[in-house]
Amino acid sequence: MRKLVDQPSHKAEHSPLLRSEKHESAIRQVSGSARYVDDIPAPASLCYASVGVTNVASGTLTSLDLSAVKHSPGVIDIITISDIPGHTDIGPVFGGDPILLDNEVKFHGQPVFAVLAETQEQARVAATKATMTFAEAEAILTTHEALAADAKVRPTHEFGRGDVSNTLQTAPLTASGHLSVGGQEHMYLEGQVSLAIPEEEDRMSIFTSSQHPSEVQKLVAEVLDVKLHRVAVDMRRMGGGFGGKESQAAQWACLAAVFALRTRRAVKMRLPRMLDMQATGKRHPFENDYEIAFNETGKMLGAKVTVSGNCGHSPDLSDAIVDRAMFHVDNAYQLGDTHITGHRLKTNIVSHTAFRGFGGPQGLIMAELMMDVVARKTGLDPLSVRKLNLYGEENGTVTPYGMPLEQDILADLIGKLEANSNYWQRREEVKAFNAASPIIKKGLALTPVKFGISFTAKHLNQAGALLHIYTDGSIQVNHGGTEMGQGLHTKIGQIVAHEFGVTLDNIEVTATRTDKVPNTSPTAASSGTDLNGKAAQNACITIKERLAAFFAEQFNVPAEDVIFAAGQVSAGGHHLPFTQLIQNAYMARISLSATGYYRTPKIYYDRETGSGRPFFYFANGAAVSEVSVDTLTGEYTLDKVDILHDVGTSLNPAIDRGQIEGGFIQGMGWLTTEDLRWDDSGRLISNNMATYKIPAIGDTPAHFNVALFDRPNAEDSIYHSKAVGEPPFMLAISVWCAIKDAIASLADYKVDPDLPAPATPEKVLMAINAIQNAGGEQ
């Protein structure tokens, strides 16, 4: 294994770094005083916008009568696409997302017009009063239909190595199959919301719940046909994002801004839950196929995998999402000769978008499926097959896209978890239980995660920060990342406090604002701390260098000896309280404000050859899940979970643990109860919280052990920590595998059950039926 870089100890006695500091907003959150966009005191002129939507999924608009809308009580203004002053396409990368219907119907629930009224209720009522007729056309609603029609939002991409077709023909053992992987509604508790306040002439202030304020700024400017410098976007906190507010928060800000410009009034646009669920994209549903070659020892020899993402009607971020699915089809395993194909299919469904894992989970689950299949065909325990095929010295460490794993820690991590969770003893206990229990069957599974960290769109891997020190020694820092609950601002505060050697109460991390730090990337790809933490640190370093030089000059000591710690600045036996130094520096006309900037090194990807290093590093983890399945109804419970996860050096163990646990439970929801359903007309019927069920409090397992794998990142990330937002989501694949393990017990573990995701009780019972019927025929 590669030698680790030397690690300086960052854990200093008085530093908040590496400690479980509280979320910076915790006290305000529990008191109800943390302010979200809808809580901002209403400006005097505030009025409210809503939208009227299509009730067909495909075709063209043949007539639109808005007279009843116009005469509805309280209505101030109505707009259609022809009223948009500037750009009408708000697609984030490739276009294809009209801000309002542009003749052609894209999906059921697509906004056709927007209406502004004095109250929220009036706007919503008015929005229902239009008379619309459509010339309906045949809609493509499923991935299969889109594949048949060759309907794509972007070209198919492929990569691989070796001659997998030949390997499949000559291998001692082969298998093939299909997996339906469901999508997922973000269900951020705070729905989409924006507030637009008109400023002088055509200038605009936007308060929005968005992971990407810079893109909101750009799109608002383009829609209003003004330059970007006339739009300022403010984003203090989101009530959850999860990817759902990366590209798809912009539409509502743009519509509010258009009304604000037209009426010179402050405009709020907040989507009620059902509209939010209908009109914004979700995690992509995938239909995936595999063919694998392996031998009797369980070693993989080759894999041919096709992942087909249902992108909805437009590209949105789907190109990168399907790419990431492809990059994770191997997960942690050396698959041998490999060919991976990724289709980006176009359907008459809302445009699917970023969601924690960004396609990674839908690809990674294929690796775990393939391991289970090999285990059942060879009679080996699934964990043995997983360990046998891990990347490593013996199997090789180069991925199908040509990237070597430089810090290969999974074998070690799995070994620790295997021991700590008593995997093998529990395996025997589960078998014994099942032998004695005719109705309830237990299942057990350990699955790893290896997740690539960096935006695969290279230019997004940059960040900026702006740091001010005031004359009382208090510090304000602003950076390009957004706070959606993940604790980014807390970690940034810890970083800045550590750099200056002051306590956290001296640091204020302010709302993300496009007029403070420009051209920022979305807070996504788990990269918030990696990018913005480094940028903030660089801002600190710039000011520290100025202060150190000043201190050195005053006391005639070398500047490089100056230390910032415990509220003091010291060198050569001289000490000054930090605040005193700041005041002295101010009087001496030293600038106390600086920007910081960071770009991720080393990364590149060549689309032509399908190879490169798209990721700065990998984050790793593994989970053991144990379930009980009722073979009469398909109901199940998650009884025990043990997790060991790699966050490098943890900047804040409590926050990292929160991301791991929250990601795991959210992933479990994706694979179990969260069941998106569209009817035959393309209408979303799981369109509220009564019909779409995210995990509730009873779904958290009674035994839920989470530990951090204590090893610094070998790469020079911020204090050698690792990104943690997305990777733990995929640990929940262990739950799906454990359910399959329980079902497989009905066929003496000789068959891998055909279990689509989400594995609702109904789907579990269908898999049980299938395995029992097959058994009956033998």
Binding site: H23, S25, A26, R28, V30, S31, G32, S33, A34, Y36, D38, E121, R124, H186, M187, Y188, L189, R237, G239, G240, P272, R273, M274, S437, P438, I439, I440, M484, G485, D630, L632, T633, E635, Y636, T637, A654, I655, R657, G658, E661, G662, G663, F664, I665, Q666, D675, I685, S686, N688, M689, T691, K693, I694, P695, A696, I697, D699, T700, F704, E762
Partner: protein
């Protein structure tokens, strides 16, 4: 007018529109934005507030969590509405708030005020701090960030160290104020919402307002304006009618007032029908059960309501009233079509009478849904069997989710009579009958074929669980 305490402030309201929910009132009129809107349908709990009311013992305040987004303003009459902004004592956080901070229980924070309020209500009960009581207390609060573990631990921690708080100190004063409101004799009315306190007053109001609709907990009715944007007609509430609030247990029967919140009748039902425990605990969520009534659930006559099948299987009697005459209708005659009942114009459900079971009769109640907590049944199945020397002398059943109305299966009840309960053929016969008894539909919750199969399989579960010796573990939940 209606009167209530908003935290410590006495509020009287006369002309508020019925469609203004408690949540909108707090956020829009009082600038108390701590309560968040996540769904406006009582499904997420981000809007949770606590209502303090005079405890049945008359000696203190009883605190219950409710969803402010689907609570009528008129329902606040005579109560103390407590919001998250009011919990701290000066700059000192309430113990449940402090515990949430200490245990890292908030991430995005949007659900947090709702959780804090549910925790506060639990803090003021004498329920022990266990995972089970915490799950029940927080069953109506969704969090999308944390995975709940730190919230569970915060709640356990705070409730394991209960001590007097600001509210204990103010209890006497609040009680006095609420008693003063209760002593007023005029019928509370807010705009078009009336809260009569007797059956006679109810009948008179119905005469005066022929187009009036009934309301009880408003957990279903509210969706008409929060989700469908409808306006409401005149409403008359059953919740203060004293004849609808009685709870009577005698040798033969348990009679439950139709307008009592489900959480108030749950202990009595648990005591006399312990096998209903799971079903009642899984009936919506605690904040919903704190508002919703048995009468409302039965009068709604939804085919996916969980209590009508119980009434059918237990051969309960629905007691109807029009202010002058009572009439009694057996449960199996009450539901006449899709959301249709025998209720006449200006007639309401006053109470439900459940006959107590004898020792020879065994009851089981099953609910299958995608999620354990706060979900609507794909299928709800209630069975009883009465055995004499191992031979079936009576069988009854009630089902939800399998037909246009709550139904029972007559064929099952007839063809199994006289069968030996231990015989595999008895199990088999029941399965065969139930697999073909109904023609359920495909919908967002389940397919028709799944519903048919689990009907037969729940019968199997019933058969296994009611044998004289344990043949198998039959459930994955702790209730088995």
């Amino acid at each position: 007018m209606i009167k209530f305490l908003l935290n410590n402030e006495l509020v009287t309201l006369e002309n508020e529109a019925a469609e203004v929910s408690v949540q909108q009132y707090l956020r829009d009129q009082k600038a108390l934005t701590g309560s968040k809107e996540g769904c406006a349908a009582g499904d997420c709990g981000a809007c949770t507030v606590v209502l303090g009311e005079i405890a049945p013992s008359q000696t203190g305040i009883y605190y219950r969590s409710v969803n402010s987004c689907i609570t009528l303003m008129a329902a606040l009459h005579g109560k103390q509405l407590i919001t998250v902004e009011h919990l701290s004592d000066g700059n000192t956080l309430h113990p449940v708030q402090q515990a949430m901070v200490e245990h890292h229980g908030s991430q995005c924070g949007f659900c947090t005020p709702g959780f804090v309020m549910s925790m506060f209500a639990l803090y003021h009960t004498d329920h022990p701090a266990t995972r089970e009581t915490v799950n029940t207390a927080l069953s109506g609060n969704l969090c999308r960030c944390t995975g709940y573990r730190p919230i569970i631990e915060a709640t356990l921690d705070a409730c394991a160290h209960r001590k007097a708080d600001k509210f204990t100190g103010q209890e006497g004063e609040v009680l006095k104020q609420l008693e003063a409101i209760a002593a007023e004799t005029s019928t509370p009315v807010m705009n078009k919402v009336y809260l009569p306190s007797s059956r006679e007053a109810m009948a008179a109001l119905l005469q005066a307002h022929p187009d009036a609709r009934f309301v009880a907990g408003s957990t279903d009715l509210s969706l008409e304006y929060t989700q469908q944007l409808k306006t409401l007609p005149t409403l008359v509430s059953t919740t203060r009618v004293k004849e609808c609030r009685e709870l009577e247990v005698d040798e033969q029967a348990v009679t439950v007032g139709a307008a009592l919140p489900l959480s108030d009748i749950a202990p009595v039902l648990h005591e006399h029908f312990p096998q209903l425990h799971e079903l009642i605990d899984r009936f919506a969520s605690l904040p919903i059960r704190n508002q919703a009534t048995l009468g409302g659930n039965v009068a709604n006559a939804s085919p996916i309501g969980d209590m009508p099948p119980v009434l059918l299987a237990l051969n309960a009697t629905v007691i109807l009233d029009n202010g002058s005459d009572y009439r009694e209708v057996p449960a199996d005659k009450f539901f006449t079509g899709y959301r249709q009942t025998v209720l006449a114009d200006k007639e309401w459900i006053s109470a439900i009478r459940f006959n107590r079971m004898d020792e020879q009769t065994q009851l089981r109640a099953y609910k299958v849904s995608k999620r354990h907590e706060d979900d609507i049944s794909a299928v709800c199945a209630i069975f009883t069997v009465t055995l004499e020397d191992g031979i079936v002398s009576a069988i009854s059943s009630g089902f939800g989710g399998v037909a246009a109305t709550p139904v029972s299966c007559e064929e099952l009840e007839q063809r199994l009579l006289g069968k030996n309960w231990r015989e595999q053929s008895t199990r088999q016969l029941g399965m065969e009958i139930l697999a073909e008894a109904f023609s359920p539909i495909d919908d967002v919750r389940a397919s028709a074929s799944y519903r048919k199969q689990i009907l037969a399989n729940l019968w199997q579960r019933f058969w296994f669980e009611t044998q004289s010796e344990l043949l198998a573990t039959t459930r994955v939940t702790a209730y088995a």
